[in-house]
């Protein structure tokens, strides 16, 4: 079984986060080699060759994104550690258990991109990971991996750890940049993309923690080696956060390509109490749900997309037969309504309205027309209810709130009707 990101933390559970252990296990060796002998372009080339796709949710090829970086300077690198999507906790593990791997990735990426100031944006509810990363950054400064003239290469890099304060929307890259600039975390209109006008209107690359944590391995082993792992379009390993009604929840670093059945019943150890599977969310709260018929779909970015959903942030939430689908949908919609930044009318008003209607249905006060109403509200947020979603909003948070609605409307229409006619949940 190939592991890239989690080897060290599994082998050294007690001190994988320390500089000593990191260096012992070959850490910063790649950095030394790269700073001594590699041109920045060569690193970019390796990343491009690796076909590494962003792990934050959009799965955009990392090398391509780097290629968009505008030539003007200064430029910034921002690490998105604002992991807040329900079901996702992989970055927390990477931050907490192997921060130096991330820092080495940052230094390599910054060197490759000509960046001299990088920011690590960690969500506010993660004080422990933030403390660990901060300590690791201090260790790295102390050891000469950060600061002026890193390892005598003449390359300078400052890293600032920035703590969020409880706003999921700041995981959206432009909202994150606004937040980092000290503004309200409202997404910006794109274009211009951050690679052209990002932090302080300067060219900026925003990458996910997991994405950048892969960089030391890719630079060390070559992009081709990474590209050799896993099926086409889903290269490399990937951290999946498995939670919900499975026997063995947790983070799993896997090579993609297996079926969902293998993943849920293999890694997850099957459904609790031997219950039947009812549905699962394949890629974080914003992804449309899968049901039994998708169990034999291969777990790759493209196969999931073909089935009108997404791997997103790699969070798999499994629901068994005892789960009320209306309640589950409401809980997800409530999240998005709560986390809407409030800029765009359809998301601000629509998500709350969806929540209100669902609340009514769940409480047994639904009307026959309510499901159609829900779908029409959804249609006004995400016209056509197509996949990938069209949107009437600036960022995809609006359409995210629609996913649970279309999911229950597609697969659990009868259950919704039973709520309406039975005056509440038929499951009791």
């Amino acid at each position: 079984m190939t592991q890239i990101l989690t080897t060290r933390m599994e082998a050294h559970p007690s001190d994988s986060h320390t500089l000593g252990r990191y260096e012992d296990t070959g850490g910063y060796a790649v950095l030394r080699t790269a700073l001594a002998g590699m041109q920045p372009d060569a690193i970019v080339a390796e990343v491009k060759a690796s076909n590494l796709r962003g792990r934050g949710g959009a799965n955009f090829p990392c090398g391509v994104k780097w290629g968009f970086l505008a030539p003007s300077r200064p430029r910034y690198l921002v690490i998105n550690g604002d992991e807040s999507e329900p079901g996702t906790f992989k970055d927390r593990q990477l931050l907490e258990r192997d921060p130096h791997q991330l820092i080495e990735g940052i230094i390599l990426s910054a060197y490759a991109l000509g960046v001299h100031h990088a920011f690590i944006y960690i969500r506010g509810e993660y004080p422990r990971p933030a403390r660990r990363v901060q300590r690791a950054v201090e260790e790295a400064y102390g050891a000469g991996y950060l600061g002026r003239d890193i390892l005598g290469s003449g390359f300078d890099l400052e890293v600032t750890v920035h703590l969020g304060a409880g706003a999921y929307i700041c995981g959206e890259e432009t909202a994150l940049l606004n937040s980092l600039e000290g503004r309200r975390g409202e997404p910006r209109i794109k274009p211009p993309f951050p690679a052209v006008e990002g932090l302080y209107a300067k060219p900026t690359i925003v990458n996910n923690v997991e994405t950048i944590s892969n960089i030391p391995w890719i630079v060390g082993n070559g992009g081709a080696a990474y590209d050799a792992i896993g099926p086409e379009g889903s290269r490399g390993t990937r951290m999946f956060s498995l939670s919900g009604h499975v026997n063995q929840p947790g983070n799993y670093e896997v090579v993609m390509g297996m079926t969902w059945r293998d993943f849920i019943y293999g890694y997850g150890g099957g459904i609790r109490h031997g219950n039947a599977l009812k549905a699962w969310i394949p890629g974080g709260a914003s992804a449309p749900w899968f049901v039994e018929e998708h169990l034999d779909t291969p777990l790759t970015i493209d196969d999931v997309a073909k089935n009108r959903s997404m791997l997103g942030s790699g969070a798999v939430v499994v629901m068994d037969e005892t789960t009320c689908m209306v309640k589950a949908a409401l809980r997800v919609v409530r999240f998005f309504a709560h986390e809407s930044c409030g800029q765009c009318t359809p998301c601000r008003e629509g998500a709350t309205w969806l929540q209100q209607v669902l609340t009514r249905i769940e409480a047994g006060a639904g009307r026959d027309i309510d499901l159609d109403l829900l779908l029409d509200i959804s249609d006004n947020i995400s016209p056509g209810l197509a996949w990938p979603p069209a949107m009437t909003t600036i960022c995809p948070l609006g359409p995210s709130a629609v996913s649970p609605i279309t999911s229950i409307a597609t697969y659990f229409k009868d259950e919704v009707a039973a709520h309406v006619h039975g005056g509440g949940c038929p499951l009791g």
Binding site: A167, G342, C344, R348, E349, G350, T392
Partner: protein, 796 residues
């Protein structure tokens, strides 16, 4: 001026259209004749694409893309659909979302009847609400300043107001608060939205979330009558819509005149309409009776008396009488006043200013006079002038825009912090009275001024020059203008505050000028304001005609002015109010004012604009030109003022710079934006050489910085209840170092003694003030004259 934009071809709903390149789709499509509904988009602000109302479909490589037309720039060959089913559905959806929480306040909402949300709901909204849940509720309305009320239930969160106060006016006192469905616009607790520009947010609010107290519930939009006119409050000449109901002016709205105000107004302009309907307006002539009391009289008696007394005085020889004023009315009134004084009374003692502005010959005669719009192209802007935010607020907005949006380098020279300092690249302080030395150093680029000097070497340069304080020597401004004229690509904007002081100068209300920017022939010189006042005191001048001027309050040495009026053997005051000077006059004649007469005015660029008539005015008041004509006729002459229009025609025919600027030309097409009267050709040498006259900073000596503030004790401000309460009490602003030197604790009362008297005032510490200086706001109820040299001592 009108650069032809390059055109690109796009397809709008299947029809090809030629639209200007580089514009946003929403504007491009408008140019093609298609209106797209929108709320958050405002052509004078950066687009944010928040309301999502302006969604349209654009054909792209990956099929039709629904996108906001306010954020998408137009590109050649673009095909857009504004009326497809998808677009209609999306727009209807957005409107439904907006209306979910919008209260059904339309019948009581000030916006009802002129509300974009109402209009667009009628045009493309759903018929009925599908929401059965409770709407969002907030206490309503809450006052967020003395002038503005906020109703958060009505707010659709388009951020126009917050963006205006952040981007345009630079005082972000209102902001979004909260997140998601709980977002609201609000101020910081206990920190009101006390912006000089708050009224603009009321005007641009697309719903009735922000309403203005002076207009609240006074009328409904459909019973308003309106004319376009020019704001009467300062010399920027903002274009306004004057709106009235039942013969009462109820509000001024900004009209987007690109070259001047771009749609914005200051709150003094916007809410400064109340004086017109003030019960204190003069409504009948007053004659001082045998007991020395002013008593109402018939017009014929009053005019007879004036003609008789003035005639008797004028018969005594030339220049025995004098005229002051004319800087607040129309050009036609100023022209008539000049003719009346020069031809009927045979005097050259006339001045529109009261010694507090710039030399009228400079105003009328300056070459390379710029326009406000030059700021759009300026590389460097030099402001050596009064605090524009206090005196010419909309010019402040334009300069601020140049500095923040257009990348101009701004250099501000002033004795203390001005509103522009936060956006200035260089701020230079100097002691009042020591400006010549500073100018020399700036011209040399010596020492710490090197950077600023280098910036001034990069043109085009716009120089905005005036007297920063009333005590500053007007000759310094001339010297600064002379220096600035030599800068690369320089255009010059001399500034002074009274609304039509430029027009008055152009109409020859100065001993050295004849109408149309013509220098008076040598040897015809009369007295200027200071000369008139001293002449009255000395008994060399006996009669005085005041036209909308109040020297007793406004002359920089009020005591001298009072003495002059005391000494005059006959004074007639023509005006709107019984101000301090009128109260000392022998005859007071009520005149019609703004919105009651038609005419033209000239702003600080020399831009001539029309003012229009909407109201009859008080029954007993008459137009100024008629009053003057009637007096002239009684004296056996005429000034040919059969009507204001006849005067205008005479001006257009005889005053060189005003040739062809007729009412007709100003009323239609491009002329409605005003016509800039052409300046003199060639270069006119500036008149005076300045010299420093600051007393040396020794012992307990200080210099005085006396400057205007927006809301003061002026007659027009005080006659309107909304603005009157905003007037600031006077205070002595002292540098903390000086306070220490004089042993003055914070908040202590001091006695300040100057050339014209002595007052006791509370102190305010002002570290931005140049040391050795005391700043007093002008016209705030405490006057010590304008002499630079003053003394200060602690009282308690």
């Amino acid at each position: 001026m009108a650069e032809q934009p390059t055109l690109v071809t796009i397809t709008v709903d299947g029809k090809p259209a030629q639209v200007p390149a580089g514009t946003l789709l929403i504007e491009a499509v408008k140019a093609a004749g298609v209106h797209i509904p929108h709320f958050c988009y405002h052509p004078r602000m950066k687009p944010v694409g928040m309301c999502r109302m302006c969604l349209i479909e654009v054909e792209g490589p990956r099929g039709m893309l629904l996108t906001t037309s306010c954020t998408t720039p137009v590109a050649d060959g673009m095909a857009v659909h504004t009326e497809s089913d998808t677009v209609k559905k999306a727009q209807e959806g957005v409107l439904e979302f907006l209306l979910l929480n919008h209260p059904l306040d339309c019948p009581v909402c000030d916006r009802g009847g002129e509300c974009p949300l109402q209009d667009q709901t009628m045009a493309c909204g759903p018929g009925e609400s599908r929401m059965v849940e409770e709407k969002r509720h907030y206490p309503k309305p809450i006052p967020i300043s003395d002038l503005v009320l906020l109703d958060r239930e009505r707010c659709i969160l388009c951020a126009r107001c917050t963006r205006f106060s952040d981007e345009i006016s630079g005082d972000p006192l209102i902001e979004f608060k909260g997140r998601g469905n709980a977002v609201e616009v609000n101020t910081f607790p206990d920190e009101p939205f006390a912006s000089y520009f708050s009224g603009n947010t009321v005007q641009i609010c697309p719903v009735g979330a922000l309403t203005a107290t002076p207009y609240r519930f006074r009328a409904r939009p459909w019973d308003l009558e309106a004319v376009e006119s020019t704001c009467p409050h300062c010399s920027v000449g903002c274009r306004i819509s004057v709106q009235s109901s039942r013969n009462q002016v109820l509000r001024f709205m900004g009209v987007d005149n690109g070259p001047t105000n771009q749609g914005w107004l200051c709150d003094k302009g916007r809410f400064g309409f109340e004086y017109l309907g003030s019960p204190q307006r003069l409504a009948a002539p007053l004659i001082r009776n045998a007991d020395g009391v002013l008593q109402e009289a018939a017009w014929s008696d009053a005019l007879d008396l004036v003609a008789e007394r003035l005639g008797a005085l004028a018969a005594g020889g030339p220049d025995v009488v004098a005229g002051l004023g004319g800087a607040r009315g129309t050009n036609e009134e100023a022209f008539a006043f000049g003719k009346f004084l020069r031809e009927t009374l045979g005097t050259n003692n006339l001045d529109a200013q009261l010694g507090d502005g710039l030399d009228a010959r400079l105003l009328a005669g300056i070459t390379a006079r710029g326009t406000i719009d030059d700021l759009e192209r300026a590389r460097t802007v030099l402001v050596w002038a009064p605090d524009l935010k206090e005196e010419l607020p909309v010019l402040y907005l334009r300069v601020r825009r140049a500095a923040t949006e257009l990348g101009a380098r701004l250099i501000v020279v002033h004795p203390r912090e001005t509103g522009l300092d936060p956006v200035a690249a260089h701020t230079i302080r100097y002691r009042p009275g020591a400006g010549t030395e500073l100018l020399r150093r700036l011209a040399d680029g010596s020492g710490d001024l090197a950077e600023a000097r280098r910036a001034l070497g990069e043109g085009p340069v716009v120089a905005i020059v005036g007297r920063p304080g009333a005590g500053d020597d007007p000759r310094l401004a001339e010297a600064v203008l002379a220096f600035a004229a030599g800068l690369p690509g320089a255009t010059l904007l001399p500034v002074t505050r009274r609304s039509n002081v430029y027009g008055a100068a152009d109409m020859g209300l100065d001993p050295g000028l004849l109408p149309g920017r013509v220098a008076a022939p040598a040897g015809t010189g009369g007295r200027d304001a200071a000369g008139i006042i001293e002449g009255l005191i000395a008994g060399e001048v006996a009669g005085l005609v005041l036209l909308g001027a109040d020297p007793v309050a406004d002359y920089l040495e009020p005591a001298r002015a009072a003495a002059a009026l005391e000494a005059a053997s006959f004074t007639v005051a023509i005006g709107l109010f019984l101000d301090e000077s009128a109260a000392m006059a022998d005859v007071v004649l009520p005149a019609l004012g703004f919105a009651e007469v038609e005419g033209t005015v000239t702003n600080l660029e020399g831009r001539v604009q029309k003012v229009n008539r909407l109201l009859p005015g008080p029954a007993g008041a008459r137009p100024t030109h008629e009053i003057l004509e009637d007096i002239a006729r009684r004296m056996g002459g005429s000034i040919g003022a059969a009507s204001a229009e006849a005067l205008a025609a005479e001006m257009a025919a005889t005053a060189p710079a005003y040739a062809g600027i007729t009412w007709e030309a100003l009323s239609w097409g491009e002329g409605r934006r005003g016509i800039v009267a052409p300046g003199p050709a060639g270069s006119q040498p500036l008149v005076h050489a300045p010299e420093d006259h600051a007393p040396p900073p020794v012992g307990r000596n200080l210099v005085l910085h006396l400057a205007r503030v927006l809301y003061d004790q002026g007659t027009l401000t005080q006659a309107g209840p909304s603005l009157a309460k905003l007037a600031r009490p006077a205070a002595a602003h002292v540098h903390p170092e000086d306070a220490t030197r004089f042993g003055i604790p914070a908040g202590a009362t001091v006695r300040v003694t100057g050339s014209g008297g002595s007052v006791e005032l509370p102190t305010v510490f002002d570290p931005s003030l140049v040391a050795g200086t005391v700043y007093l706001p002008l016209h705030c109820g405490a006057s010590i004259g304008a002499g630079l040299e003053i003394t200060m001592e602690a009282v308690s």
